[in-house]
């Protein structure tokens, strides 16, 4: 529906997405609760994160029904953040390496968490 008339949609779609977000949040909590590790853990965290973010933006924030001019203007620029992530991870690993080279491995003894 054209956005000039306001975003008017049937209530059922909101209930569906609401339920879906609950299920996806439950799944992402389960990733931690069931103690998945390694690539499986990170993959699932990212999958559920992107699905949740996508549904919130597309349905709750009505981006799905907006015109492409707005979609491109708002969703396009954040892509630049990927470059920042790439550069800073590169930088981060380099700093870690130089720290190990000059100061040696960490001698930190972590204390257990008390509850």
């Amino acid at each position: 529906m054209a956005s000039e008339d306001g975003q008017q949609h049937p209530l059922s779609i909101y209930f569906w997405i609401w339920g879906l977000l609950f299920v996806l949040s439950f799944f992402s909590y389960m990733v931690d609760y069931l103690n998945f590790q390694g690539n499986l853990r990170w993959g699932l965290i990212l999958l559920f994160m992107f699905l949740k973010a996508g549904f919130i933006i597309a349905i709750f924030m009505h981006m799905k029904w907006e015109r492409m001019a707005l979609k491109v203007a708002i969703l396009g620029p954040p892509v630049a953040i990927l470059v920042l992530i790439w550069l800073m991870s590169f930088e981060g690993f380099y700093i870690e390496d130089t720290r190990v080279d000059y100061y040696g491995e960490s001698t930190f003894e972590p204390e257990p968490v008390h509850h």
Binding site: W18, Y33, I59, A69
Partner: protein, 219 residues
């Protein structure tokens, strides 16, 4: 006229008139949210680089944020509850927007109040979490007993800034809800797009939490 897709994109930007076919308030809210996206992204990328570059072990969030209700500590339980509360509040907000466009003032008002109350309870739980972390676990911005010092500074910075957004959102919601109730928008031609604009802000706060939950608490 109103062409879809990429032809519409070119047409909208090149016809020497208003580009976005939305109320100006909505376009401005989206542009504000875009700038806020970059702020939160900078925090999260900063967190990523200090976590990568530290040689000390990173505290395990699953254990740090575990909570015991008498028995064994349940991992991350408070954070899970906070996540569900925020999603619930996003749902009530979406309903409020819908009811606003149906010009159902009473339902809109109460749904916005419910959203604000859920938001306030989220902030309350966050205050509890901060207190527990500072007083019981000894987490400080400059160090903590469980691992890398950068854990505290990233945590207080990121969740603090998010909590501030939620608090501001609660105030924003209550102001607009009160105006819906007292007929402020009725006197201005019965236009309730402001509810949708408020909703955009609120959903954004929920959206940011999705990323914080994934990268800070689960990673």
């Amino acid at each position: 006229m109103e062409q879809p897709g990429s032809k519409g994109l070119v047409h909208d930007w090149s016809r020497d008139k208003q580009v976005f076919g939305v109320p100006w308030g909505k376009a401005m809210m989206w542009i504000f949210l875009l700038s806020d996206t970059f702020i939160f992204s900078c925090f999260l990328v900063g967190y990523m680089s200090v976590r990568i570059s530290t040689t000390d072990p990173w505290p395990i969030p699953s254990e740090v944020f575990a909570l015991s209700f008498g028995g064994d500590p349940i991992p991350l339980i408070l954070i899970a509850i906070m996540t569900f509360i925020l999603i619930t509040s996003s749902g009530t907000m979406a309903m409020a927007v819908n009811m606003g466009y149906r010009k159902n003032r009473k339902a809109t008002f109460w749904l916005m109040v419910a959203t604000a109350l859920l938001g306030a309870s989220f902030v309350g739980m966050q205050a509890f979490e901060w207190t527990k972390l500072i007083v019981e676990e000894g987490v400080r911005p400059w160090g903590n007993p469980m691992g890398a010092a950068q854990f505290g500074s990233s945590f207080f910075m990121i969740t603090g800034f998010h909590g501030m957004h939620v608090s501001a959102g609660v105030i924003y919601l209550l102001v607009i809800a009160n105006r819906v109730r007292n007929g402020f928008y009725e006197r201005r031609g019965g236009n309730y797009e402001i509810v949708e604009i408020t909703g955009l802000y609120w959903h954004f706060v929920d959206l940011v939490w999705v990323f914080i939950f994934a990268f800070f608490y689960l990673w």
